[in-house]
Point group: C2
Chain length 358, copies 2
C-alpha cells in the first residue's frame, strides 16, 4: 500500500470547515486506490497567532517540510488586520511559501458549463473560458530587499519596497509555464510592464531567450494594464499566462472572478523538490465562518490537485474530479453558486453529496 | 476676449486624427463663449523620436510648460517597441508627466446609457457604472530609485525597481481624491497591498490620518487583488478610487474596459499649479492609424475636460459634453462602438457631426 503524509493547515475563517470536508473525501478515495493517507493538522495564520503568538510556528513549517504534500484552507480575518507586519496572518503564509520554496503558483480560471450564468460577463464571453495563470510566488516585490520605512533627503518619512528578479528566478518559472502551455493549448502569454520597468525588461529578455527551447509553444507578450483589460474584453484569447508575483496576484484574482465561481477554483504551488502547497483561491470569508455556508468545492478540487501534482496519484485525483462534476450535475449548490432550480445545501452536506459520487 | 495658449501633442498612431477633430471643435466652441484659443503643435513619442532622436524634445517640454493646457493624442507603436528604455515613446510621456509635475491622474469610467451593450458585462452589472480612479502619476515604482540592471551576491544578473512614496506624495494625491469624492458620491476607496508591502502600509497610514479632515467622505480600504475582482463582480459599489501609480495603471484600464467603450473615456492629469495634461485613455492603435477609423469621442471629451479643469471655462466645456451626447443620441458611431441600427461613420465625419451639435 502506498502511504503518504499530508499536512493539513485549516487556518482561519471558513478554512476549518472546507478542510474537514476535503479530508473526509481524501481518505476513502485514497483507500479505493490502495493509498494510505496520514494526516497531521497544524496551525497557520490567525489561528497560530492566537495560540502561539506567531503566524507560522516552527512546528508547522517543519511538519510541512517533512510531509509529502500540504493542504491549506484559508488565512486572515478582520481581527488581525491591524497587526504589525510580522504579526499578520498573511506573513505566515508568505513565510510558508518561502520556507517550502514553492516558486510556481498555478491558478486555473475555468468556467464550469453548469455555472456559466454565475459570471457577471455575458454568457458568450464567459462560456468556455479555460486559462491558467502561472504566477511567480517566492520573489519580486513580495520578498525584495531593501524594504521598510525610511527618511528621504528632505527629512520626510517614506515607505518602500524592491521589485527584483534574478535570472534563475525568471528562468525556473518560465520553464514551468512553457511546460504547462505545451500540455495545454500551446500558447503562452508573458505579462509584464517592460515599457516602464527594468525588472520587466529583464523578465522579458529571459523569457524570450528561453523560448528557443520551446519552439512548439507560441509565445506572446502583453503589458499588465492591457492584460487587465483583455481579461474583461475577451478572456478566451488566453491559454497560459506567466507573470511575476504582484501582477499574478492581481490578474489571477481578476481571472477567477471572471469565471463567476471563485468558490470552485483550486490552486497549486510547487517548488523544484519537496512538498507542494495546495489551496483554494478564495479567502477566509470571516463573515460566513462557522455557519456551514462555505463552498468546499475549491478545497476538494485542491485535494484532487494534491493527489495529481503532489503525489502523482492521477487515478484517485480524477475520481474526485468526476465526483465534483457529478455533484454539480446532480444540482447541489452552496449559496454562492445557487440559482433557481438547483438544490441549496450547506458545506457539510455538499461534502457528503460529493462523497456519494466518489 | 479671454485668450489661452494650448499645446497640442498629436503623438503617434491615431493620435493626429483624433487631435485634429478635437481642435476643429475647440476653436468654434471657444468663439461662441468669447474665448480665443491659440494652438501650437509639438512632437512627442515616436513622432519625436523619428524627427529629433529623443521622445520628448526640450522644445516640446518648454512649450508645454509655457502654455495654459496640453492636449495629447496617443503615443507608441510596434515600430519603437524594441528601443532601449531612453528611446521609447513611453519614456517621453513619463518625462512629460514628470516635467509638468502632474501628479494627479483622474480617470473616469462611465457607462454611457447609449452604449451599455458594448460592455462584455451583463447589462444589469454594467448599467449605471460611474466611477473615478484617482491615480498617483509622478511617483512610485515608475520613478523610484534605485532602478536598473545589476548583479546579485551570486554573480547572477538582476533587474530591479523601487516602489517608494514619501509622505507629501501620498498626502497631495489623497487630498485631490478626498475633494473629488466629496463632489461626487462622497465615498472614497483607497486601494493598496498593505497586507504585504511597506510602501502600502505607509500609504494607508497617511490616508487614514488625512481622513479626519474630510469627515463627510466615507473612506474604505481594499487590497488591490480584491479590487481587481470587485470591479468585475460589482463595479457599481465604487464611487472614487485612489491608488498608486502602478495599481492605478492596471485598475483604471480594467475599469475602462468594463464600460465597454474605452474609445469614449477622457483623462486629466493635474499638478499643484501649471498646465494640466488632457488625453484620451485609449492608446495609439497603430493597426487602424491613418484609416479614418479612430473614435474621436474620448479626445473631444478630453478637450471638454481641458476647458473645464484646465481653463475654468465650464460653460464651453458643457457645450461640448452636450454635443457629444446629442451626437450619440442621433445615432452616429465609429466602428468600435457600432451596433445594429446605428450609423457607422469615420473619425472625420463623426467630428463634423459633433460640430453640428455644438
Ligand atoms: C493573503 C495574501 C498575502 C496573498 C498574496 O498576496 O499572495 C493572497 O492574496 C493570495 O493571492 O494568495
Ligand atoms: C504608456 C504607458 C507608459 C502609460 C503608463 O503606464 O502610465 C499608459 O499605460 C497609461 O496608463 O497612460
Amino acid at each position: 500500500k502506498r502511504s503518504y503524509k499530508i499536512t493539513l493547515l485549516p487556518g482561519d475563517g471558513i478554512g476549518p470547515e472546507v478542510i474537514s470536508v476535503a479530508k473526509d473525501i481524501l481518505l476513502p478515495t485514497g483507500s479505493l486506490h490502495g493509498i494510505k493517507l496520514e494526516f497531521q493538522e497544524k496551525l497557520l495564520g490567525g489561528a497560530a497567532l492566537d495560540a502561539t503568538g506567531v503566524p507560522l510556528p516552527d512546528d508547522t513549517l517543519s511538519a510541512a517540510k517533512q510531509s509529502d504534500a500540504v493542504l491549506l484552507g484559508a488565512i486572515g480575518g478582520y481581527k488581525w488586520d491591524k497587526n504589525e507586519k510580522h504579526l499578520k496572518p498573511e506573513t505566515g503564509l508568505l513565510q510558508l511559501r518561502e520556507g517550502l520554496q514553492v516558486f510556481a503558483n498555478l491558478r486555473p480560471a475555468t468556467v464550469f458549463p453548469q455555472l456559466v450564468d454565475a459570471s457577471t460577463l455575458k454568457r458568450e464571453v464567459a462560456e468556455g473560458v479555460d486559462l491558467m495563470v502561472v504566477r511567480e510566488l517566492t520573489g519580486g516585490i513580495y520578498f525584495g530587499k531593501p524594504r521598510g520605512f525610511g527618511t528621504n533627503e528632505n527629512g520626510e518619512e517614506t515607505g518602500f519596497n524592491t521589485e527584483i528578479y534574478a535570472a534563475h528566478e525568471i528562468d525556473r518559472i518560465a520553464r514551468v509555464a512553457f511546460n504547462i502551455a505545451r500540455k495545454r493549448g500551446g500558447k503562452l502569454c508573458s505579462v509584464d510592464k517592460a515599457n516602464v520597468l527594468e525588472a520587466s525588461m529583464f523578465w522579458r529578455k529571459r523569457v524570450v531567450a528561453l523560448a528557443q527551447e520551446y519552439p512548439d509553444v507560441e509565445l506572446s507578450h502583453m503589458y499588465v494594464d492591457n492584460a487587465a483589460m483583455q481579461l474583461v474584453r475577451y478572456p478566451k484569447q488566453f491559454d497560459t499566462i506567466v507573470t511575476n508575483n504582484i501582477f499574478g496576484d492581481i490578474l489571477s484574482d481578476e481571472a477567477s472572478m471572471i469565471t463567476g465561481s471563485i468558490g470552485m477554483l483550486p490552486s497549486v504551488s510547487l517548488g523544484d523538490s519537496g512538498p507542494g502547497l495546495f489551496e483554494p483561491i478564495h479567502g477566509s470569508a470571516p463573515d460566513i465562518a462557522g455557519q456551514d455556508k462555505a463552498n468546499p468545492f475549491a478545497t476538494v478540487l485542491s485535494a484532487a490537485m494534491l493527489l495529481k501534482y503532489g503525489l502523482g496519484e492521477v487515478e484517485a485525483a480524477e475520481r474526485i474530479e468526476r465526483a465534483v462534476l457529478e455533484t454539480l450535475n446532480r444540482g447541489f449548490r452552496t449559496a454562492d453558486i445557487y440559482s433557481d432550480g438547483t438544490k441549496l445545501v450547506g458545506c457539510k452536506q455538499l461534502g457528503e453529496e460529493i462523497l456519494k459520487s466518489v
